[in-house]
Amino acid sequence: MNPVQNNKIRDIRTLENIARDVRINILKMLTASGSGHTGGSLSAADIAAAIYFSKMNFNPANPSWKERDRFILSKGHAAPLLYAILAQAGYFSHDMLNTLRKINSPLQGHPCNESLPGVEISTGSLGQGLSIANGIALGLKLDKNPARVYCILGDGETQEGQVWEAAMTAAHYNLDNVCAFIDNNGLQIDGPVEEVMRIAPIHDKWAAFGWHVLEVNGHKMEEILNALDKAESIKNKPTMIIAHTVKGKGVSFFEGRVEYHGIAPTQEELDKALKELANG
């Protein structure tokens, strides 16, 4: 298989269809597994689809290809999203998705780089991904490698102190090859982020830390693509794209419901959800 760099998709409709397929696969694998994180996988599906299929250079036949762009899922509990994307990208067959969270499966409950090609590093303990992204970005710059690093964080995740340590590092070292997203769905396990531990004003905070900050509707493909283009043109600064999203997006009875943070759909819910997505 050839590197996918010449195969980038700019057509909004096509990308939306990919995101829908990714959502379908997320739901199917979660139901097959019987456990896992539904809400936060669905909320970041459009962002992840846009990053991988409109921007990133990668080669599933050679996952360690040096020129590849890198993707770090800092919110590791959205593993089903990463797995659906990697299957879509051709790293492995869609059949494997049904092994999610099962004994001996490469599809661990949270991403494991040692078991699954395409996963750059293991995540799952929150707050660590941005530091990893920075380290990769520093290494790429040393090698004068033009590849870029993408990273998705959860909004609740930014309560971790390490996130802000990494925010300083990226700005201090002028890491314009880092483009991060906050999947700002407003909900965390114990309830609304605003109630559990306020992170607002998000935009001002990241700007104050020296980042170029953009805001988009995280479910509008066109806005996401424009922001990704803009991020590429920013020099000497990392870019943070705050993506306003809806937890559980795409399935009406999961949307905005905090209880679906860490619960998998039942078979009945899956059937209903698939119908909605087919008609949507």
């Binding site: 040096k66 890198r70 494991c112 780089n113 040692e114 750059e120 590093i121 293991s122 995540t123 799952g124 303990s125 707050g127 660590q128 991904g129 941005l130 530091s131 990893i132 992204a133 920075n134 380290g135 990769i136 970005a137 520093l138 290494g139 790429l140 040393l142 090698d143 490698n145 102190g161 390490q162 340590e165 990494a166 300083m168 590092t169 201090h172 070292y173």
Partner: protein, 361 residues
């Protein structure tokens, strides 16, 4: 109320209602001072120390890192605002583009190091042992060990010989923390020369490594022709009665103790177990099989370090009496390094006493 407590309470009004720390706690060394002069200790050494010079292991680290930096462009170094103390500043000065000061943020330093390793670099990340292993333990667990990234954690200021800075800065649990992690290799060099060999060896080894170095200058103990290999202990000599398994600065102390004991008719051996994980089980077993007792000696808590590693192995494979010399489940305190070693029983006298008592039983 005991006399000591009364004395302490009398020292200040503000201290009156506080439970005062008593450094003369019974958990500290109970060793009796022996009638041994310092010159006797020096002369009784079983090995000829090839130099009367002393050098801190952290200094050897700084120099070796600089040397490696000249030879290899893939070596990168990170520090958390302590480069003057960890001695990574030598590398920083020579190769500023490959040195990353991450500031006072150890968790981010470890993550950044892991990221750098993913681009094929060989990152050395350094700070004090307390902060390196304690502050960033979860980052080491996930991004280094579970992810099996090629990150070298080289910490200075291990143990109580940190001295005057006191307990907050004296790592006495770092080896336990690192040893518990799968994929991790744990090394505690005995002197500056061994440190240099260790740093070169781990640069060529692929996988996570923790190396613990010290602040204070220490004597050279390893032979001139010594070759370090990860996982291989160095046997100075074996004793028919007792054998001391030591690491770090306690190797020198063990050599002194063994010399005196052997002169007094208690045949005592010394083994430098610089790689604490993976433990050199083969050497340990062969030594234990020809010994009445084993004594471990380390500048670390007796919980979870070299003593524990030796006990775990021997209990399952060749159960013989083991005595652990180390810090007895206590925090350190301020003082000069030599005084502290005495206070906590990390002395040749305590080793001698311990071995004599154990053999009497």
């Amino acid at each position: 109320m005991g006399k000591k407590e009364q004395d302490a309470r009398g020292k200040g009004q503000g201290l009156e209602n506080k439970k005062l720390r008593r450094w003369e706690d019974e958990k500290l060394s109970t060793s009796q001072p022996l009638n041994i002069s310092s010159s006797q200790i020096q002369d009784s050494s079983l090995v000829t120390r090839h130099s009367s010079l002393e050098k801190a292991t952290r200094d050897a680290y700084g120099e070796t890192l600089l040397e490696l930096g000249k030879e290899r462009s893939d070596i990168v170094v990170l520090d958390a605002d302590l480069s003057g103390s960890t001695k990574t500043n030598k590398f920083a000065k020579a190769f500023p583009e490959r040195f990353f000061n991450i500031g006072v943020s150890e968790q981010d330093m470890i993550g950044t190091a892991a990221g750098l390793s993913l681009t094929g670099k060989v990152p050395f990340a350094s700070t004090f042992a307390v902060f390196e292993t304690g502050r960033a333990w979860d980052q080491i667990r996930l991004a280094v060990c579970y992810s099996n990234t090629n990150v070298k954690l080289v910490a200075s200021h291990g143990g109580i010989t940190v001295g005057e800075d006191g307990a907050s800065h004296q790592a006495l649990e770092d080896i336990a923390l690192m040893r518990a992690l799968p994929n991790m290799t744990v090394i505690v060099p005995a002197d500056a020369a061994e440190t240099s060999l260790v740093i070169k060896a781990i640069a060529d080894y692929k996988g996570p490594v923790y190396v613990r170095l010290g602040r204070a200058a220490v004597p050279y103990v390893m032979p001139d022709d010594y070759k370090f290999k990860i996982g291989k202990a160095h046997i100075f000599r074996t004793g028919k009665d007792a054998n001391i398994i030591a690491a770090g600065i306690m190797v020198d102390t063990a050599i002194t103790a063994a010399g005196i004991l052997t002169e007094q008719g208690i045949d005592t051996g010394v083994i430098n177990m610089s790689t604490i994980k993976p433990l050199d089980e083969k050497s340990l077993l062969s030594v234990a099989k020809n010994s009445k007792i084993i004594v471990t000696a380390e500048e670390h808590s007796v919980i979870g370090g070299l003593g524990s590693a030796v006990c775990e192995f021997l209990a399952e494979n060749h159960p013989i009496p083991v005595k652990r010399i180390g810090v007895n489940d206590l925090f350190g305190c301020s003082g000069n390094p030599k005084e502290l070693l005495k206070l906590y029983g990390l002395t040749a006298e305590n080793i001698i006493e311990t071995i004599k008592k154990a053999l009497k039983k």
